[in-house]
Subunit: 211 residues, 2 copies
DNA sequence: ATTTTAATGTGAAATAATTAACAAATTTAA
DNA sequence: TTAAATTTGTTAATTATTTCACATTAAAAT
């Protein structure tokens, strides 16, 4: 089965979230244009993404919500579930731990790491913090494949290397240090400052266009 | 002057960050391929972005770092600076306030808003928290043009409407609720869960390709 | 039953973003 | 001082992503 484009994966994740909401509202079927409107995109985009999924609705009374959620899950999720570690339990790491815990049934935050002795051994939302020196064993014993990096910029490269060396296969990097990883490790970088600067730029730009 | 594509703006923000680092390291000139390597992109991409900036380096011993930082700033930043408010001082809002305060000389976090009486009146990194009922006056008096939304999902739409009504021109939305805003308001949405699900998908996918 | 209406799935077209290719210019090496 | 090597800016080509356009088909209306 074909690997989906990243953009499609992102939208499928969003579709599922909206579908879960719709289900809560008691909705059984949903039209492509309804889903599109919720997300401020076009109905064709929705249909094309679902086409890539290989799912087709047969009836023209919309897509069966429950079934669609299931189909998206089959494609996006790992059936056995995947385990995640938060690396760096500072402000952002702690916020993320609260936030992600229990959020998705197939994504489990099972550990966190830090070097601060004041953090090691503590627990946030049932997630225990380990010393980075215990990383190797912990990743192995808890079968962790994904690391969320919220460490200071200065340690970013070193931490990334260590994660990779210890078998992590996906890194979600919140530090603003661009990382390089081997081709078999998936790297997602997110830079909030860049996004904020983008907002600022367009606000400025819109303002000057109005004049 | 032409409005830059969003992607280019993002990269310019990144270039500037790297250039500031280079400057700290005492580097006076930098080649397009050096900048590219740091960011894991191609040198052509860098040159093309700088071309859109309208800046050309004349000499072939690289771009003068200091000058380039200045040129990027001239294009991206508002000369007078822009003021930002954090809306929703929970886990994420608080982390962001610490993080963003003083980070960029032209972006000032000057206020935060909440409805929790326990939060109103408190100060984080010199940023005072106001009641949402004081939003109108505060936005006006402090000349706030950008709002960072870190409120619970349930209040997202209502808060966005209020921000827009009170004159905010840019919204950076961290809730996972897709928002609709008038065309003169710039909206940037960021959904961490979607990014994490994307990482998870590709980790799963890479694993199955290896088999 | 027909007819009309409304949705879907998808090839083809359009648009956006990236990369290749290379002439022009400058630096460095000889 | 000349030749070789680098680096830049930019046009053209390529690739990725989105939208258009429409045939097909189910559902609703007549
Ligand atoms: N706070 C935010 O809202 C925010 C937003 C965007 C990006 N970031 C980035 O996220 C990162 C963390 O930000 P923060 O505000 O949470 O910082 P923080 O200082 O609050 O937290 C960093 C944590 O990492 C730990 N740490 C330090 N070195 C480590 C190592 N080698 N291994 C493991 N843990 C280590 C520290 O003990 C601390 O607990 C930074 O790189 C920052 O640029 C933060
Ligand atoms: N915590 C994270 O790491 C994280 C990550 C991604 C997305 N988010 C999203 O960010 C938002 C905030 O998350 P959080 O973990 O910080 O939640 P939180 O509950 O810790 O904080 C929410 C804050 O908003 C305030 N609030 C509630 N209603 C409000 C209103 N109408 N106006 C102003 N303030 C109001 C609350 O008093 C509280 O202080 C949520 O939508 C969440 O989905 C959080």
């Amino acid at each position: 089965m074909e690997t989906l484009p990243g953009k499609t994966v992102e939208r499928l994740s969003q579709y599922r979230r909206r579908l879960l909401n719709s289900l809560d509202d008691g909705k059984e079927y949903i039209f492509s244009h309804e889903l599109a409107e919720i997300l401020n995109i076009t109905a064709v985009q929705v249909r094309r993404d679902l086409m890539l999924l290989g799912y087709s609705s047969v009836y023209r009374k919309g897509y069966p919500v429950r079934k669609l959620i299931e189909v998206i899950g089959k494609r996006l999720d790992s059936s056995k579930g995947q385990n995640v570690a938060i690396v760096g339990m500072g402000n952002l790491g702690t916020a993320l731990t609260y936030y992600l815990s229990g959020l998705r049934p197939k994504l489990h935050v099972v550990a966190s790491f830090d070097i601060d002795p004041g953090k090691i051994g503590t627990t946030v939302e049932g997630v225990k913090c380990y010393s980075v020196s215990e990383m190797k064993e912990t990743i192995k014993s808890k079968n962790i494949s994904i690391g969320v990096m919220t460490v200071p910029q200065a340690s970013a490269k070193e931490v990334a290397k260590e994660l990779v060396n210890n078998g992590i296969k996906g890194i979600f990097n919140f530090t603003h240090i661009p990382l390089t990883v081997p081709p078999d490790v998936y790297l997602e970088e997110y830079d909030m400052l860049t996004s904020l600067e983008k907002v600022a730029y367009f606000v400025k730009e819109f303002a000057s266009l109005r004049k």
